[in-house]
Symmetry: C2
Subunit: 473 residues, 2 copies
């Protein structure tokens, strides 16, 4: 285990060097956060399909429990139960459109993770930074429990638990627990916990900050202790269900699935579920008594429990939907926590958008009307009133507004249009619009994956580290 | 599957070219012997330990259900449920002694399998050919069910089911079903089924041939049909027990095992077993109601059922011991089939040597006295009398003898001494003499192996073929 300990020291030092201007020492957050003994316990795996560019290279890394798909290299990194999906990589010869530029892609893109420590992090690679089109890099970065690195290359960053960095290129930043950042390019920034920030430079700027005392009930992360709160309890309570799934080499499909849909064999499926056409259920999704209509999706680390999704609904990475009824075309963003009760269901109307990192936690029934944007912390109709707006009203705003703890600047129409385009892209990429021939997406392309497991050295100085592994077509 | 079909055609063609002088066409034996669909069904695996040279390279191959340990490369090959153990490879700097020669090893040895098709074959690599010390090659070769390629590099060969080639370098040969060849160097030879041939040039020559009609009950292999007979039925009847083992990622140790012993997690262990000190139970061994005393071993694809091994007993690759009691230091050779019955047990006295490919199949109790060499087909005391000799009597023979269907030429003492040295080496290599510090062997070195699974392309032209996989330290 000697080499693994040295690797951890090395990573911590590199990140502290990057964060020196923010005067931030990651050591007390990281030491003992995951016991290194755990690194020997779990196998990692990579997927092989004819549909994804096969090119894996793992060197001097520990990968316990992680999942890899696409073209990925890791060096001097520790990944623990992380999902790294390289299935939207750009290809040589593609042309990337950015503002007035048409940029040809000179070689196949890869995901490159170096000197980084990712814990239960989801990395999805569709990046939009016109400056680094061929390499999705994560360097000198620590990302903790259930953070999402989504189309967001980063360098020298520290992400707290349940943080999301989305379509942002980030250098030397600290992102607090449960913060969401979608902001183009940022550097040398410290973002407080519970910040929801969506910015399109020169177009709009959306900001919301959770009241700290109330957020702490859900997620709290301080020095020298693991993260705590309702979110952690929620996932810990369901951990055992995953263990069974991961201990079998082949599992029987637990439900009938249409040919156009896919249900990843590393998802937890508990009775009784319905899977419609063009549905994607990703690895580490958790479905219990869930009805998914045509074109709906359940992304990595999401939970859908006692709920019904009528169709073309999006359950983004890490979102939790409990005791809820979603009409068609509802978007539920990253790490949103929507908790109805059996005697107090949550209903969400057609075309509504639940912002990433929204918490709806109710004890009486609540209905979100169709076509609304919803954000922040909501436990009753009054808070819903404060933390939502009809999309058609938002579209009319040209200069700005504030509502509760939310402030908005710029073009409401620009915001709504950008969001709708994004939703369309997500449904398209996931195969919701497949017609039997065209518009294939993840639901159709990820059906038939060979999963190969990898484990580290079981013993000796290299214990917990993986050998060099190179996989090519 | 297109590429896999082409690969099979390519291999068949190359072997037929090699065997053209023997006028032997392998096509009718090979076509449809294993459905190519099976090649998509099973995972292969390689072991990672700090004790074995880690260097795997698999290219343009199909590896379904195979097991790899040590330093191995495959190219343009199909391996189906084969065990390839590269754990006795020579190292750079070693000196190999052969007659008057002291040959320095110039680079680490590897196992190199090219243009070959191995079906359920066991390959163990400790080769003795002074001409090819750094490369254990298997080229342009087809080896069928439960054949053993043991320290025997080969080129252009066809091995029938349950054939063994042991410590022999072989070119352009056909080895019939259940034949055993240990002969130094041979080429352009066709060996009939059921031949047991042990030769040390200028020293001795042992030959036995099974009566064909009686052998056919046990194993029969002809054109356009899979192999048949009691041997095949016996393994098929126990196939399901292995399926459970292979479908779990981690299995609990099913029995208490001393620290100095190892029980491979891909062995089948059925109640109730006893494992003494320094015992090795290898992958795909099958133990049921078995008592293994100190220093005993159970090698790949052996079966020990309702039997007791007092200690320092060897159960070689593929041997089957059923309803038998073995005193200390008994050797049971490759693919031996020793079948007592619950009301007719087989007893084998101390230091006796059961030759490879011996069949003892009894309906009344039978006792083999201590210190005897036993060979061929034995179903009663009279046949035992014909097919055995006291080692001390054999040692006295200087020019030759015949006994039943066995003929012996040369030095009996040379034969007995060579056998005893070999037995000592096998026990030593397997860790039987480990004293807590020195004399480590497989039993101690193979205890803690990480097993990594690999699967082929699930779909498309490459279906059933594996990607290029390179694993290094």
């Amino acid at each position: 285990m000697k080499e693994l300990e040295k690797l951890l020291e090395r990573i911590i030092q590199r990140i502290n060097i990057n964060l020196r201007e923010l005067d931030y020492d990651v050591t007390p957050f990281i030491k003992n956060l995951v016991s290194l003994n755990q690194m020997v316990k779990f196998y990692a795996l990579y997927g092989i399909t004819p549909n994804h560019p096969l090119d894996f290279s793992f060197k001097h890394s520990s990968l316990a429990g992680s999942y890899f798909l696409g073209k990925i290299r890791t060096r001097n990194s520790i990944l623990y139960k992380s999902d790294i999906r390289g299935d939207e990589l750009k290809h040589q010869g593609d042309v990337f459109h950015y503002q007035k530029f048409e940029i040809p892609i000179t070689r196949d893109e890869d995901v490159d993770i170096e000197d980084s420590f990712l814990i239960k992090t989801l990395v999805h690679n569709f990046s939009h930074d016109p400056e680094t089109l061929e390499r999705f890099f994560i360097r000198d970065t620590i990302s903790t429990h259930y953070a999402n690195i989504h189309g967001a290359p980063m360098d020298g960053c520290f992400l707290g638990p349940f943080a999301t960095v989305d379509l942002t290129t980030m250098r030397d930043c600290v992102i607090g627990a449960f913060s969401y950042v979608q902001a183009g390019e940022v550097d040398h920034l410290k973002v407080d916990p519970g910040t929801v920030w969506v910015r399109s430079p020169d177009m709009f700027n959306f900001q919301y900050r959770y009241p700290v005392d109330r957020l702490n009930d859900y997620i709290y992360f301080a020095k020298n202790a693991p993260p705590q709160g309702i979110f952690i309890d929620f996932v810990e309570d369901r951990k055992e269900d995953f263990e069974q799934i991961f201990n079998a080499v082949n599992v029987e499909q637990p439900a009938s699935v249409p040919e156009s849909s896919s249900l990843n064999r590393f998802s937890v499926i508990k009775p009784k579920i319905h899977i419609g056409e063009n549905v994607l259920v990703a690895q580490r999704a958790y479905l219990q008594n869930a009805w998914l209509g045509k074109g709906a999706n359940a992304q990595e680390q999401c939970y859908i429990i006692n709920s019904r999704l009528e169709g073309f609904d999006i359950t983004a990475h890490g979102a939790k939907i409990i005791e809820a009824d979603l009409d068609k075309n509802v978007f539920v963003g990253f790490n949103a926590f929507l908790r109805g009760r059996s005697d107090a269901r949550l209903s969400i109307g057609q075309e509504s958008i639940i912002m990433p990192h929204t918490i709806i936690d109710i004890k009486k029934p609540l209905t979100i009307p169709p076509g609304h944007l919803v954000w922040g912390l909501i436990t009753n109709p009054k808070e819903l009133e404060t933390n939502s707006i009809a999309l058609k009203d938002l579209s009319k705003i040209n200069d700005g507004m504030t509502k509760g703890d939310m402030s908005f600047e710029g073009s409401g129409n620009g915001f709504v249009t950008a969001f709708r385009e994004r939703i369309h892209h997500i449904l398209d990429a996931n195969g919701a619009f497949f017609d039997g021939k065209t518009n294939k997406g993840h639901a159709q392309m990820n059906q038939n994956i060979s999963f190969n497991t990898i484990q580290p050295y079981p013993d000796g100085d290299l214990q917990g580290l993986y050998p060099t592994i190179i996989i090519q077509p």
